[in-house]
Amino acid sequence: MDKLETALQKYFDYDSFRLGQREIIEDILAKKHVFATLPTGSGKSLCYQLPAYMLDGVVLVVTPLLSLMEDQIRQLKKRGFKQVVAINSFKTASERALIFNDLSTYKLIYLSPEMLQKKIIKQKLSQLTIALFVIDEAHCISQWGHEFRPDYLKLNEIIDQLGQPTVLALTATATSDVQQDIVNHFDTIQFNKHIYPVDRDNIAFMVQNVNNRVDKDKFLIDLFTKLTVPTIIYFSSKKESERVALLLSEKFNQLSIAFYHGDLDTNERLLIQEQFIEDQINIICSTSAFGMGVDKQNVRLVIHYHLPTQIESFIQEVGRAGRDQLESVSIALIAPGDKQLPLKLILNELPPVDILELITTHMNQTNQEWIQIVPSMITDIWGLNETQWRFIKNFFEETGILIDEDKINIKKITPMLRRDFIRKVEERNRYKLRKLNELFEWIDTKDCRREQLFKDFQTSVRSAKYHCCDRCGFEVEQWSPESVVRKQTASSWSDQLKSVLLPFKVGGIDNG
């Protein structure tokens, strides 16, 4: 065992590295800049978490995914790594002040890109020795990425201000165009590229066309009559996830089925997540809120009851199946009119085109040149959600209408500028619609689904390790996975109390 393997064993309890991890970490430790694409669920975060244990100095991780931050921090703390912290908009000013006070005691700091724009944070960070600067979800840099984040464009500057620490740019879903975009953007940084295929050769793909919602339900009932495996079913509506969970619970007494979405409170969400990991729950009916950072190896089946808005999200969600590299299946259920829901989601992400008029009228009541924006204006008066506001904010910053994060000068909003704005909204809209169409073209394709799904992400797609896809002749009937049955719970409360409080006396039978 060499030094790296010893560290892996010591800190993570793993015996060996997964594809790419060792090479990436070796480069990082040798202070080389790295650009890497690794498939979802292949242990991307380990590529900077292990160095955090080994390097002198701080590892900074920029990520737009707030829930991922919290999940990873929970998992690290569970492993006994305590010098980790997240700085994001969830934290109150006083919590942040506390963090700043002992910022130097942390080894791993997660930051949202927005936070990194704040003067106070930049100043605090410049006092630290940054050993590694991680750009997670690096595709957010690219205008052509599916989740473009304008604040990512400013990372260049910050890296320079921090004295050019070693940079690790990571992504799981970047087409080759986007990859090029990322590398070009950091023109002063010489990247060592580690491009690993994002295709998953242990997952078989299938699209099932049905007539309507009732048929989708019927398909699920037929399917679960035949097999019981750890399953995630994705929905884009909270209500529907609850409805189907209830329906399936009624049909399958012996199975445990739960729903999961953003409205559940944190503790309840945590319980559902852990029950699923422990195989106490067989089927999760969930919105896209579920999955990120859930480290479950044996998910055998991912079903899309509704489709997301783009191929990248689809790949990410499907990728939660078969992390253990064993045979797994993806099924997408499609009915006529299924495009409407994602279409609505897309329209909801962009601000209404007449929003600038509303803002001008509302702000016109004062005579000051620069007016401060309060968060309640954004949501309550202008009626904007977070994504919509981010879009407007970026436009305002680019055109000099907004400075210092929250000061706005409405006199600069001219008719010409309004036209520019509308053009920009429409351009983004067209782009999003194109992404949606791509996904639906994939649904309609007559060719091999595996090839079509991954073709934009890598030059060649590996052939399937088990079954390939319905276009290549796969049918669910050919799949006979081993059943993972729910752990039996004791029948009387007193036996159950015993297994909770006295597991060391109960022995192996009740504990599966």
């Binding site: 729903f259 015993k498 909770v500 409080l501």
Partner: protein, 355 residues
């Protein structure tokens, strides 16, 4: 159970307060008004027993009860009970052990006690299997810190688990069987995570409100059980278990006024010292009169006037201040009437006046 308790509250209040005041009692709002309402209408058992209830949920249950004819929503957001509601209360009187709910006594402690107990059980259960990496089910830092410190003092994991197992088993035998099953289902131990409220609601075919309230009921029963039997190690998990004033639910500002009263300040002196209006100080005194059984009234009202008032008030059914004043005439001040109201519910007249 939620329906029963709401109807009970509506029946006690008799339209003299808005329905929002009932919501605040369930929620356990720490305001002088809510605390007084709970005392005045003898709803202290319900105070703070459902602090997770949302306004929307509460309103929709009210609407349902109204549509089903159990109560009638009247003007100005008030509600009065209907015959069908009264009948429901009579029929279910023995189904719900209302008297075992101890809202006012435990509102401040229940959640934190259960958080500590659950996390300690989970931690010890994993440690007993020599696993020290697990996902803690309680995500709040103060509780985690508490459990860590607790472990420093109680490191014999298996002995602790065995003791607590016997104590909990003993306790669960004393309560309703369904409650006992739900209590255990909710617990997390080694490789076995507890059920959510939603899952319990499906399993026992109850509304999520009833699940929550039945759990709260069990927790209150457990707290009483532990205190009566002075049962360690569970006793020391109760927040502030060794403090006498833990059972006082009063606002911070009233507490400050109380300290000055104990030092012998008059109302005028307190007004000056705290730069507050007389009416505010009077509100505090009323609040204290409700919350503290031993609170002495002698500095604020003469004994003969007090006795006279208590006597007269007991003959008036309406608990609304303006109505009482109307019937008594301008003879007494509002402050005097409120003081009398606060103490009139105590049986012994000596106790009433001077603790």
């Amino acid at each position: 159970m939620f329906n029963y308790l709401i109807l009970l509250a509506v029946d006690q209040i008799k339209g003299q307060r808005t329905t929002a005041s009932i919501y605040y009692i369930f929620k356990g709002r720490k305001s002088a008004q809510t605390i007084q309402d709970a005392h005045l209408y003898q709803l202290t058992n319900l105070y703070g027993i459902y602090n997770q209830i949302s306004r929307e949920d509460f309103e929709s249950v009210l609407v349902q009860l109204s549509e089903q004819g159990y109560l009638e929503k009247t003007h100005q957001d008030r509600a009065i009970i209907r015959e069908k509601g009264l009948q429901y209360l009579r029929e279910h009187k023995n189904n719900y052990p209302y008297h075992l709910l101890k809202g006012m006594a435990y509102a401040n402690q229940t959640n934190e006690f259960i958080a500590r107990l659950s996390l300690t059980i989970q931690t010890y259960s994993y440690l007993s299997m020599n696993v020290n990496r697990f996902q803690p089910i309680i995500d709040t830092t103060p509780t985690q810190v508490w459990v860590k410190q607790y472990y420093q003092k109680n490191q014999d994991v298996k002995e602790w688990l065995t003791d607590v197992y016997h104590q909990l088993e003993g306790f669960l035998l004393t309560i309703d069987d369904q409650q006992a099953r739900m209590f255990v289902d909710r617990l997390t131990g080694y490789q076995r995570f507890g059920l959510t409220i939603q899952q319990l609601s499906v399993k026992y075919n109850l509304s999520k409100h009833d699940v929550y309230l039945l759990l709260t009921l069990s927790y209150h029963q457990l707290l009483s059980f532990i205190e009566v039997n002075q049962m360690n190690p569970l006793l020391e998990m109760i927040p502030n278990h060794n403090l006498q004033q833990k059972k006082m639910i009063i606002t911070k500002s009233a507490a400050k006024t109380y300290q000055l009263i104990l030092k012998g300040y008059t109302i005028e002196q307190i007004m000056e010292r705290r730069r507050l209006k007389r009416s505010t100080i009077e509100d505090h005194i009323i609040e204290l009169a409700y919350a503290i059984p031993t609170f002495k009234l002698s500095p604020f009202i003469k004994q003969d006037i007090f006795n006279e008032l208590v006597d007269k008030i007991s003959q008036i059914e309406d608990r609304q201040l303006s109505a009482i004043r109307r019937q008594l005439g301008d003879h007494y001040s509002y402050f005097q009437i409120r003081l009398a109201l606060a103490k009139a519910r105590l049986k012994n007249s000596e106790e009433r006046y001077d603790g």
